[in-house]
Every structure is written in C-alpha cells, then in structure tokens.
C-alpha cells in the first residue's frame, strides 16, 4: 500500500466512523442506470435549473426590485434623461455597466427557455413511453407541478425588468385576474396593492421569483429525483430486461462521468447561445408606461400558446347582477388551461381506470403499441401547437404574407378540427406500424436482392431478423378489453351501469391492436 493510499484510507475511515456512509455509498454508487439518449432529457432540465440558480444569483447582486421612479443617467445614450423605474434602470446597469452582466442576463434567459423546452420534451418522452404508470404516478404529478411552476416562474422572471414588453405582459396578467367572476377585481387590487400598475407589484414578484418558487422547485426536484432513485429507472424492452431488473451501467464511474460531463456540455451550449444570440433586448423596448405598446408584443414561448388561445377567442361577454363576466378571457385564460393541466396530472389514473391495469410497470412501451395513448398525446400536442402558432399570428402573417384575419380563422377552426384529425391519423399510423412489425417478424427484412426462380417467377430474398430484434417486436402485452357486465352474479342490476358501459367502450377502443406474432405463428411460418 502506497503512502497516498494509506492517507486516503485514513480519511475515508475517519468520515465513515462518524457518518457510517461507507455502506450506503457502496450500495448506491453501484446502482445501475439504463442507457438511452432519451433518459438524458430530464437531465437537461436539471442542469438548466442549476445554471438558472447560478446566473440568477449573479443578477440579484445588482438588480433593484423597485418601481420607484428615477432619471436615467447611465451609459446607454438613447435612453439618457428618461424617467424610469429603478428595476429597469438596474437592469440597464447590469446590461451595460457590469462586466459580463449582459452575458449573464442572456445566459439566465436562454437557460430559462431551454429549461422549459427540456421539461416539455422530457414530459413527452415519459408520456409516450408510458413511464408514468404504476408505481410512478406521484412522480408524474410532481413533474406536471414543475411544468406549471416553470411557466409561472418564467413569466415572473421576464416581468421583473419593467421594460415595455414585460409591463405589457403584466397588464395582460392583470386582465386575466380581473376576468375571474365576482372576486377578480378584488384579487387584482390585492396583488397590485391598488390600481395597476402601482408600485408594489415588482417588489412582490421579485420575492416570489427568487425565494419562494426556487425553494419549491428545489424541494420538488429533490423528491422527483429521490423517487427515480428509489423506484429505479425504467428501461426500454430488450432481451434480458425484465420487470424485476435494470440493465445498464453503475453510477460510479460511468454515470458520474457522463452526467458530470453532460452538465458542462449543457452549460457550454447555453453559454454559446448567450454569446452569439441576443435575447430580450430590454434597452430597445424602453421603460414601461401604461400608455405605450409595441406591435408584435409576445410572451415567451411557454406562455405563447395561452396568448394564442386568448387572441383567437371571440368577443363574448355577459352582464349579470351588476357583474361583467368576460368569457373571452375567462375561457382561454383560465378554464381551458385549468382543464388541460388537471387532465395532464390525472392522466395516469384515467388510463389505468380505462385499462383496468393495476400492475407495476418498469419496461417502457413502444408508442405504436399503445395507439390510443399515443393518439391522445398527438391530439393534445396539436391543440397546443395551434395555440402557439396563433400566439405569433402577427409575426407569422407579416413573414409569410398572410393576413392576421386568415391566421385567426385558421386557428379558430383548426383548434377544434385539427386535434381530432391528429388523433385519427396517429392511431392509424400506430396500427400500420404494428402491422409492419408483424410483417418484419414473420417474413424478415427485405434485402433488395431479387432472385429468379426456375419457374420464371421473381422473388425478393427476405433475411430473418435477429432474435434480439424479434424479442423487442414481440415482447409487449396486448391487453384484452374489459368486459364489465351490467348485472352481478345473481342477475341483479349493478349500480353504476352507465359508468361500466362507458368504461367498457373506452377499454375496447384502448385495446384495438394488430395481433402480435405468437409462437404458433412462427412455427407455422417455419413449416413453409
């Protein structure tokens, strides 16, 4: 044993004597993680969050969360001598007078955009592969919570600089608050400490943005990761992979190295973007005053689909008992997103209710093998994309020489018509892919080699696929539809017969599939 090893051993022994960490570390550092690029999407979100914490801390050193009016005398001449809030002034100060300040601001904002992109992409991976099934329902709900909080946190973040665009966003948020029936105007007065814009809102959202929400984020992310740790990671189907094992690499050294390296790559990509591409040029927007607005005012992309829903909504309003109900804002601004996020959070329970499947699942689904879920996801995605496109309707119409009115009518009709179409097409596509899988297993891969038979007939040579591949294509279960009867064993009508009927019907739709290749099929084909 060399001197160095002896010293290391002494230190390790010292720590272990006091913490008992050795046993725990040995168990957990050897923990195995499966390897797939799509399992790194959540990591992108995690690393973006760390970058957000670091760059955000830097920004708090100089940002002044105050709506107190001051006269600007900083180094950006086109705003010299103008009256503005201290929040805006300090953001200009960070951008132009603090060394590296503008780069840090841009890192913070690009990281925020990529944080939300990574969350959504990660969510799509989890959804389409069925990773939310038992026992991971809670983690799914935490994930939906993180997505929702991310949207709020991002909105508060770009509202802080008090530039013309952010003030416009707050004005719209105020309108959405006021659209709440009866209590809306009161809540708005509480939030703003009086009439809009007041001087209390920015200090308040600053505390929420830098203290409360990051705290909740940290707690939720910790639980999110601990649950992944405790429940173990899901894996894609393959030979030797079962519901009872995890096939992959140990945390130390392979995953530590990979994850650590990936953090720096994520940081590098974000820093690269921030160095070459401008984001939120607040000095061009100018200070916020309620009398001003810019053409093409948009929220950041993760709010864009909500903005698009509000933009396409027809002017509906009712007056009753001295109260005005603005359906045109209430429905797209609160009711539709409320339904969407609730539905998203409850989806694992809805699916297991329909399928009747209460078992644990650690092997992921291939999206084509669950056509209904995949089609439903495509439907929700289409809805959101139509909303997002309409959120940028003015920019899109000037860029592609369309009219705003065409965009609006496309969205109004498209938001109702396109999602069901997407559902039908996706479901058909999934079934066709299942058929292709069946074909592949039964007849093998088309080699492109044509052979002429003695009889003169031309045939293409098919090459059997590997056993591994055949396993992947045939390992999945094909659930049978539920057959809940309306009556019990004695022929007495059960309560909730309508519910059962509905459940039977949905379960039947859920179980539509192209029969997968069975051992019997293979035997028959070998016989030929």
């Amino acid at each position: 044993m060399s001197a160095r090893e002896r010293i290391a051993g002494t230190v390790a022994g010292y720590v272990d004597d006091r913490t008992g960490a050795a046993k725990w570390m040995k168990k957990n550092l050897n923990k195995v993680f499966p390897d797939h690029w799509s399992f790194l999407l959540g990591e992108i979100a995690l690393y973006s969050f760390i970058i957000l914490l670091l760059s955000g801390t830097f920004l708090t050193f100089w940002f002044v969360p105050s709506q107190h009016e001051v006269i600007y005398n900083g180094s950006y001449q086109p705003l010299s001598g103008l009256s503005m809030s201290e929040a805006y002034q300090s953001t200009l100060h960070i951008s132009f007078d603090i060394r590296g300040g503008l780069l840090m601001r841009q890192i913070h904002h690009w990281a925020a955009l990529l944080f939300m992109v990574a969350i959504v992409v990660h969510l799509l991976r989890v959804y389409f592969t069925g990773a939310f099934r038992k026992p991971r329902e809670f983690n799914w709900i935490i994930g939906v919570g993180l997505l929702t909080l991310g949207i709020v946190e991002g909105f508060l973040g770009y509202s802080l600089p008090d530039d013309l665009l952010s003030g416009t966003g707050i004005r719209i948020a105020e309108a959405i608050i006021q659209a709440l029936p009866v209590v809306g105007s009161y809540i708005s007065y509480f939030a703003f400490g009086g009439a809009f814009p007041g001087d209390a809102f920015i200090p308040r959202i600053y505390t929420v943005h830098v203290l409360l929400l990051p705290g909740i984020f940290l707690a939720l992310i910790t639980v999110h990761l601990m649950l992944v740790w405790y429940q173990k990671h899901t894996q894609y189907p393959g030979p030797g992979r079962t519901e009872k094992n995890v096939v992959g690499y140990p945390l130390l050294p392979v995953y530590m190295a990979k994850a650590g390296g990936f953090f720096f790559i994520v940081f590098g990509v974000i820093a690269f973007l921030s160095a070459v591409a401008s984001i939120n040029p607040i000095w061009l927007y100018g200070p916020y005053t309620p009398g001003q607005i810019s053409a093409g005012s948009q929220p950041d992309w993760y709010m864009g689909w909500l903005d698009g829903l509000v933009r396409m909504s027809p002017p509906l309003e009712t007056h009753a008992f001295g109260h005005t109900i603005s359906w045109n804002i209430l429905i797209p601004g609160l009711i539709v997103p409320g339904i969407m996020f609730t539905g998203l959070a409850l989806y694992p329970f809805i699916e297991s209710w329909i399928s009747g499947d209460k078992r644990e699942h650690h092997i992921l689904d291939r999206p084509r093998n669950v056509p209904n879920r995949t089609a439903l996801g495509a439907m929700a995605l289409t809805f959101t994309i139509v909303g997002l496109l309409n959120g940028g309707n003015d920019i899109i119409s000037t860029t592609f020489h369309l009219t705003i009115n065409q965009m609006m009518w496309f969205s109004r009709i498209g938001i109702l018509v396109l999602p069901p179409i997407a559902f039908v097409i996706t479901k058909r596509l999934c079934l066709s892919l299942q058929r292709a899988d069946r074909d592949l297993v039964l007849h093998g891969r088309e080699t492109g080699t044509l052979v002429r038979m003695p009889s003169g007939e031309f045939v293409e040579v098919h090459e059997p696929i590997s056993a591994e591949k055949a396993w992947v294509l045939t390992q999945h279960e094909q659930p049978k539809p539920l057959e809940l009867s309306d009556t019990d064993a004695r022929g007495v009508k059960r309560p909730g017969a309508i519910k059962n009927k509905l459940r039977n019907r949905m379960s039947r739709a859920n179980a539509v599939a192209v029969p997968k290749v069975s051992a019997q099929d293979l035997k028959e084909i070998e016989h030929h």
């Binding site: 086109p78 401008s278 040029p281 093409g296």
Partner: protein, 263 residues
C-alpha cells in the same frame, strides 16, 4: 372727414364697417400667411406644372380622374399637397402595381425631376403640406434621441414595433419597417398620413419632435447588435424558435452521442 361722420349713425354704417373690417383682416391674413415660392420663377413654375400635368394624365388619371378629382378606386388628390406626392411616387408606392390591400414600396417609376413636376402640379390644384426642405430636415442638429424614442414608443411603436421593424395590421395591411427609410419620407409620412397611417400634424407632434423621432429611428438602425445576433428584433417569437431548433437540437444531439459511446 366731417361729411363722413354725418353718416356714422346711418343704418348701413355698422354692416358696412363690419364688411370692411372682415375684408381688411382677410386680406392681411392671406398676405401674411402665403408662402411665396422663392426658388422657382412664375415662368418655370408654370412649365413644371404643365409637365407634371402631362405625366399625371398619362400615368395617374386613369384612377385619380382627369382633374385629380378621384374616382371609384382612388381618392381625390386636390389638397393632398406636394409632400404626399413626393412620398407616394418618390418611394415607388404610386403608381400601384396592383389594386391589392396596400401599396408597397418598390423602385420608383419616375425620376426625381418628374416626381417634382408631379408634386408641383398637384399642389397647384389646392394648397397642402409642402415637401420639407433639407434645412428643415437637419435632424442631427435639431433632434433629441431619447425624447424621440419616448415619442416613437408612444405614437409609432404600436404599429411599427418597438425597434421600427414594422408590424401586422388587420386584413393583410401592415406598417412597413422604417429601417433604411430616408428622413424626408419619414417626415412626409408623418405630415400626410399615407394609407393606414394617421396624420401627425405639427400641433400634435411639433416639427422639432418629428426630427427627434427620426433621429431615434436612425440611432436604433445604426445601433450594433449589442447582445449578439439581433434575431430580427421582433421579440420572443424568434427566441422561442431558436431555443426549439438550435438549442434543444444541439443538446439532444449531444445526448444521443453520449448514449452511443457507451456501447
């Protein structure tokens, strides 16, 4: 004067006196407010008007009428002034290429002399806003950038966007970008209100304030891309697009590469 004072209580005295006073005031006002043309002699002016009228009859009258009185598809040009003609024809918007939603800027059909002649002709029909001279347009000397920015954001940004990049209006109309637009045309647009644009008269935005606006637009145009590529200066749409393409694209590429190497 004694014979006049005899009639001072005459029935017609008061109305006559009033008529005389009105005539005197009117004459004085018209003499004082008339802007005598210094640069062009009466003779040259007439020749230019005749030339302008010839061009008008050939190129404009089919829509605007033989006497510029307007028609089914085009407005009357009586009283629109030289500035309006200079803007519309000088920027190539008139004559229109087609009767679409909005006249677009394109290479002008007429040269500077012809545009001037047309302007002379139209302004000879009735007075209207005149073409601002170079002395008036000295925005570098008479404008204030910060004040111009404030005025721009209050009056112009709602259509032309915060960085004067242009924006969409209803039914396919749009506010064009102001990048690279000559100061003279910006000034003329403000005083004549072409197409969907309102008129910003000298009482709403004074000539000095107009120059400030022009100075700010020119400063925004000359401003280097401070934070890196400007992405069109149209706000978060292009930023979102970049994060969904290049940003996540690069990161997913790296993730695929990381997972691949392990095999």
């Amino acid at each position: 004067m004694k014979h006049l004072s005899r009639y001072r209580r005459h029935k017609a005295a008061a109305p006559l006196l009033l008529l005389f006073a009105l005539l005197a005031i009117g004459t004085t006002f018209s003499v004082a407010s008339a802007t005598p043309s210094k640069s062009i002699s009466t003779f040259a002016r007439t020749a230019a008007i005749d030339e302008g009228r010839a061009i008008f009859l050939k190129g404009c009258s089919s829509c605007h009428g033989l006497n510029a009185e307007g028609g089914q598809v085009a407005p009357s040009l009586i009283g629109v002034g030289a500035a309006s003609v200079d803007f519309q024809v000088g920027t190539g918007r008139m004559p229109m290429a087609d009767m679409s939603t909005q006249a677009v800027r394109k290479p002008p059909k007429y040269n500077a002399e012809q545009v001037a002649a047309l302007a002379q002709y139209v302004s000879s029909l009735a007075t209207g806003p005149a073409i601002p001279t170079d002395a008036v347009l000295n925005y570098e000397r008479d404008g204030n950038t910060a004040e111009g920015g404030q005025l721009f954001r209050t009056n112009c940004a709602m259509c032309h966007n915060f960085a004067a990049q242009g924006g969409a209006l209803t039914q396919g109309k749009y506010a064009p970008t102001l990048m690279g637009v000559e100061p003279k045309y910006m000034y003329e647009a403000m005083i004549t209100g072409p197409q969907s644009m309102p008129v910003f008269g000298d009482k709403i935005i004074t000539p000095a304030e107009k120059l400030s606006i022009i100075k700010w637009i020119k400063s925004a145009q000359a401003e280097p891309a401070l934070g890196g590529a400007a992405l069109g200066r149209v706000g978060p749409v292009t930023e979102g697009l970049l994060s969904w393409t290049l940003g996540i694209g690069l990161l997913i590429g790296v993730a695929v590469w990381l997972a691949m190497k392990a095999r």
